[in-house]
């Protein structure tokens, strides 16, 4: 019986050594140590033995069992280590393949319009500087779009704004500046606010002309607000949306609602680019908004969002922005935080 056990152990240990993988090892384990395994069978016959032999055989059987278990354990560790060592080859998967059908990301389109994305970026910068974000009607009256902005009827500056007039006597706002007027009607200084929204200009459409635009209007009215403050706020904005290396410069320009008025140029990919109009809110505009220009001053600026989107992404034809064409839209798959 003891010999039989010794032979059994030797066979088992040989087979353990011969096993080439964990699965083979499992077969060996159940063949010898399973409920119907050979060691178990030996143990089951112990009851039939002479009582004197039961002790030594039982001990030998247990020793054999432990030896086999130890060998199995060792071999298993050995095999796992060997398998782990070679994963780079044995389990290599081509990372450039498409995901399997039905995976969470397969077949998902989803894109954010580049104008929406830029508007969010800009709003975030202004919110972080304590500006309110305002909105206003797209259909405006003459007073808010022109009159209160120091552009009375028949003023030559109306030529600067190709206006769409409506059958009810109103107009489609030609800039976001009316929101400035509306803000002053309901607020007292200090006022820090921006409005990013849609505007309209009467233009024939082609690759460089649209009739539907988006503009970012910002203004800041308080005691002793200066041109220097305006430069700071605009620089802060442009650092975030163009880059920390951006440089700005002011040139004199004319807008009836500011005095002095400026154009701001920025460096973009190595060149100066005309970006926005700005200036100190005209005293007339403050007065029209019920604010005493002797006590308060402010700056205001307006910049076209569409053109910035175009240079940001290298878009060659402005009509893409309003086209609803997924070949264009579906390229803008990110760009929205929260």
């Amino acid at each position: 019986m003891l010999d039989q056990l010794q032979a059994l152990q030797a066979t088992a240990l040989d087979e353990v050594r011969a096993a080439v993988d964990v699965a083979a090892l499992d077969v060996v384990q159940s063949a010898f140590l399973g409920k119907k395994g050979q060691v178990q069978q030996v143990l089951r016959t112990i009851g039939k033995l002479d009582p004197k032999e039961r002790g030594p055989v039982g001990r030998a059987a247990n020793e054999a069992k432990q030896a086999i278990e130890a060998a199995l354990e060792a071999r298993k560790a050995e095999l796992l280590a060997a398998a782990d060592a070679n994963l780079a080859e044995t389990e290599w998967v081509d990372a450039t393949l498409p995901p399997p059908a039905g995976s969470r990301a397969s077949g998902r389109g989803g894109s954010i319009h580049p104008i929406t994305a830029l508007v969010r970026d800009m709003e975030d910068v202004f919110l972080s500087m304590g500006f309110e974000t305002l909105d206003g009607p797209w259909v405006e009256d003459d007073h808010h779009n022109f009159g209160a902005l120091n552009i009375p009827p028949d003023h030559p500056a109306r030529d600067m704004q190709d206006t769409y007039w409506l059958t009810d006597g109103n107009l489609l706002r030609t800039h976001t500046s009316p929101v400035q007027v509306r803000a002053m009607e309901t607020r007292k200084p200090p006022i820090r606010a921006v409005c990013l929204g849609r505007i309209f200009r009467n233009e024939e459409l082609d690759a460089t002309h649209e009739n539907t635009f988006h503009q970012c209007e910002g203004f800041f009215v308080d005691r002793d607000v200066s041109v220097g403050h305006m430069i700071y706020v605009l620089e802060s904005l442009l650092h975030e949306i163009i880059g920390p290396d951006v440089k700005v410069r002011l040139r004199p320009s004319y807008f009836p609602f500011v005095e002095p008025g400026f154009e701001m140029d920025v460096t973009f990919r190595g060149d100066w680019m005309e970006l926005l109009g700005c200036g100190m809110v005209h005293p007339y505009v403050l007065e029209a908004g019920g604010i005493d220009p002797n006590e308060y001053s402010g700056f205001a600026f307006g910049m076209g969002i569409d053109r910035l989107v175009m240079v940001r992404h290298g878009v060659e034809d402005i009509r893409h922005l309003m086209s609803g064409d997924l070949r264009f839209m579906s390229q803008f798959t990110g760009g929205l935080e929260g």
Partner: protein, 813 residues
């Protein structure tokens, strides 16, 4: 507007400022110079030459052989010339071989080569104006004044080389003084610290002081601030000399004759429009400035008959109008080649009247665009005297026969402002030395005397019309001349008030994140217009729209009341390449109303399309699920879905007749409609050529905002006892919504049922025609303890009783 570098250089020393520097100075301190273009550069190789002999060509009647001398010591050259006017002794423009001329026979530049013309070799060319790109003259060669030096570069001898600047007119809308070269020269004088050499005027003393001035009356004083008239006789009109013609043409003004050219020259120099009437045609020997009679007709010098209104201002003689004031002269009194006597008009008209007339008549002239900028009334006399001086220069025999006529009822009274130094510092945010502030103002022609902590400023008349009105306007003058680059960036100090996105903006962000990033829709944008045809096509032809009075295209005449037309077009446009897809946009709909402003309804609009229907109504149901998923993600609870036919999104908006009557739903919450979702009506889909099935949804952003503001999570304690699953199948009429069945079940065992949903729908064998079987699954529970078998049976019975009670057949449970 164009500016001549050479001309500016005649009024201010530019020897140290090349065109680039001038452009830079003006752009950064005055107004944007958009561009510069050299002229006459292509003529660098041309020389002046003298024709010393002219002989007939041996083999051609119309050609002649000319000997041209191009300077002392140069060998004379032989040139074949076809011009009839070539003659011995003339000084001409000679192009040697190798020279490139701008205007070849076909209008393209040509390079001269030595060539043989009918057997005679020709060496270079004697040039006409057209060949040199200097004008239309091609009747013969250009003959230069006899005293022109010979053998020198032609462009230099005739003052042709120049640089023309292009001004961004918009930037000088408020600066009437910058609508002539003199104003720009004044700017350069201040910027370059060089004195201004203003053009010489005729001394008033040269006009007779005795006798009667030409009678001029201003009947409409609101329309005309000043009217200066000068009578000049003994004139010999004719073509202008080349340098004068060149000056005008380089600036885009066609040369007519000397008298007209001189009015234009003064216009371009002083910025004051002038008009010369032929004295023969001024009937009745008087001029009146009056409002036109309603319906009065006059022929302008462009040959058009113009019907006038009382709004228009006219210049009339004793019999009728001779000019539309400030806009255009009349055909009946224009200067002609044989004009020998003129009445010169130099006036200041009301800017708004001129602008309205010019706009109404569609006649935006050089004159009207200046008058509408509010001209300086003092300039009227100055420009008239400048013109008189020029006439005297070009026609020395001209005589001023009558005293000056000058109607100036309300002379310029002067404008005085006080500029505190502190205002400069506070507005610009930078310190500019006090003496510099004063110096800048003086350099621009202001009188500025120090007075306490500031300067007392007298505004010159040319800056006092709608330009400089307040001290801040002076801050601009100081700032721009000192240079805006000097202003440093300064962080404002402001109260630390927290600012979060407004709720509507926050909602828009969430909607975008869910629709685009979670549900995988592409955001698009459409314009806010459609055409009348489009309104008709979608079925809104009879609905009153807010319309654009002056659309740039018929496509954009109506303000949208539905996003459906744009969405359908986007579907069709994309279907070619993208067989199935989903898009959304944030839009506004416009409804006319009696209030001051129309109703603007913000909506979120969705569209989806697919070539095949995987199951009946799949597009519709998928869209509905997306909208519901959006509501869930926004935390909006209590939304109810129900089938509906052509529901309107909100009061005022039209019925959605383009949606499928059997596949449209309204999502409501309380009284409010949150959304309308539906499949496109097959007939509409065919009309738009949509392939397959498409679904549309419009979500009312305002209603969504209200619902979003009310969002809250009502926590229910976690259930601590086992639940009993329960399935039931019920046969209902085909068009009975499952939602009704679910409502009935919930009502029967309120508070003891959860997770109720349909898991199968069956129609066909075993079910009566016109009916269908709904299989529903739910869990029954008791919050207070384990549900006993008996209690569960009781709940089941209440459910099945309620279903039967509603008239439905419970198939199994």
């Amino acid at each position: 507007m164009k500016l001549s570098y050479r001309w500016l250089g005649e009024m201010v020393d530019l020897t140290e400022a090349d065109p680039d520097r001038v452009q830079h100075k003006l752009t950064f301190h005055t107004a944007e110079i958009e561009d510069q273009e050299p002229v006459g550069a292509g003529l660098a190789a041309l020389l002046t030459g003298r024709v010393t002999a002219v002989r007939p060509h041996p083999d051609a009647d119309k050609l002649r052989l000319c000997t041209v001398q191009t300077g002392e010591g140069e060998a004379p050259v032989e040139v074949v010339c076809g011009a009839p006017n070539v003659a011995e002794g003339q000084v001409i423009a000679y192009a040697p071989e190798g020279a490139t001329l701008p205007g070849g026979p076909d209008g393209a530049p040509i390079t001269l080569e030595r060539r043989t013309i009918r057997g005679v070799e020709s060496c270079g060319m004697i040039c006409s104006e057209r060949e040199m790109g200097l004008g239309e003259g091609h009747d013969g060669i250009l003959v230069l004044p006899a005293d022109t030096p010979v053998g020198v570069p032609f462009a230099e001898a005739c003052a042709i080389d120049d640089t023309i600047f292009e001004v961004d007119n918009v930037c000088v809308t408020h600066r009437p003084d910058l609508w002539g070269h003199l104003g720009w020269a004044r700017e350069l004088s201040a910027l370059l610290h060089k004195p201004l050499q203003a053009p010489a005027l005729l001394d008033l003393a040269e006009l007779p002081s005795e006798g009667e001035a030409f009678p001029i009356a201003i009947d409409d004083e609101a329309g005309c601030r000043r009217y200066v008239g000068i009578v000049i006789e003994n004139l010999t009109n004719g073509p202008s000399p080349l340098p004068l013609r060149r000056r005008l043409e380089a600036l885009g003004v066609r040369s007519i004759d000397l008298l007209v050219d001189l009015t234009n020259l003064v216009l371009l120099e002083q910025g004051q429009p002038l008009h010369a009437f032929d004295l023969r045609d001024v009937r009745g020997g008087e001029i009146r400035v009056r409002s036109a009679a309603e319906g009065e007709v006059m022929n302008t010098l462009d040959g058009q008959a113009r019907t006038l209104t009382a709004e228009d201002l006219v210049i009339a003689d004793g019999e009728g109008p001779v000019a539309i004031a400030g806009v255009m002269g009349g055909e009946n009194s224009e200067v002609r080649a044989d004009t020998t006597a003129i009445l010169l008009e130099s006036a200041t008209f009301d800017p708004l009247r001129i602008r309205r007339t010019a706009t109404r008549l569609g006649l935006r002239t050089e004159a009207s665009s200046r008058f509408e900028k509010s001209l300086d009334p003092e300039l009227a006399l100055q420009a008239a005297l400048r013109f008189a001086g020029l006439v005297k220069h070009y026609m020395p025999e001209a005589r001023f026969t009558r005293p000056l006529s000058d109607c100036y009822p309300r002379p310029y009274a002067g404008l005085e402002l006080y500029l505190p130094y502190s205002l400069v510092r506070r507005r610009l945010g930078t310190r500019i030395a006090d003496h510099r502030v004063r110096g800048i103002l003086i350099s621009l022609g202001f009188q500025a005397t120090e007075d306490g902590d500031g300067v007392a400023v007298k505004v010159p008349s040319w800056r006092a019309t709608k330009d400089i009105e307040r001290p801040t306007d002076l801050v601009e003058e100081v700032g721009r001349v000192a240079g805006y680059h000097r202003i440093a960036s300064v962080a404002p100090i402001a109260p630390m008030t927290p600012k979060l996105p407004r709720p509507v903006r926050a909602l828009e962000r969430r909607v975008a994140a869910v629709l685009s990033l979670e549900l995988g829709h592409a955001e698009v944008k459409h314009r806010s217009f459609y055409s009348a045809k489009e309104a008709e096509r979608i079925g809104l032809g009879a609905v009153a729209h807010l319309r654009v009075v002056n659309p740039s295209s018929e496509e954009h005449s109506h303000m949208i009341q539905s996003t459906a037309p744009d969405m359908l077009h986007t579907i069709v446009r994309n279907q070619v390449r993208v067989p199935s897809g989903t898009v959304w946009e944030g839009a506004r709909l416009f409804v006319p109303r009696a209030a001051a402003l129309p109703l603007e309804r913000a909506v979120f609009s969705l569209a989806s399309w697919a070539p095949d229907e995987v199951s009946p109504g799949a597009q519709f149901l998928a869209m509905l699920a997306d909208v519901q998923a959006l509501l869930t993600r926004l935390g909006i609870t209590g939304a109810e879905v129900a089938n509906a036919e052509s529901p309107a999104l909100c009061e005022g908006l039209p019925a959605t007749t383009w949606l499928h009557p059997g596949r449209t739903a309204r999502i409501t919450r309380g009284e409010a409609t949150l959304a309308v979702v539906g499949e496109v009506l097959p007939a509409v889909a065919r009309r738009y050529e949509v392939a397959g099935r498409a679904a549309l949804a419009e979500i009312d952003a305002d209603a969504l905002l209200v619902a979003h503001a009310e969002r809250r999570v009502d926590y229910e304690p976690v259930l601590r006892y086992p639940v009993v699953p329960f399935d039931v199948a019920v046969i209902v009429p085909r068009t009975t919504p499952a939602g009704d069945v679910q409502r009935t079940m919930r009502a029967a065992v309120d508070g003891s049922i959860r997770d109720l949903h349909v898991f199968d729908v069956y129609e066909g064998e075993g079910i009566p025609a016109g009916e269908r079987s709904l299989a529903l699954r739910c869990e029954l529970f008791d919050r207070a303890g384990t549900l006993s078998t008996k209690a569960a049976d009781a709940l089941r019975k209440r459910i099945t009783d309620a279903l039967s009670g509603a008239g439905w057949t419970v198939r199994r449970s």
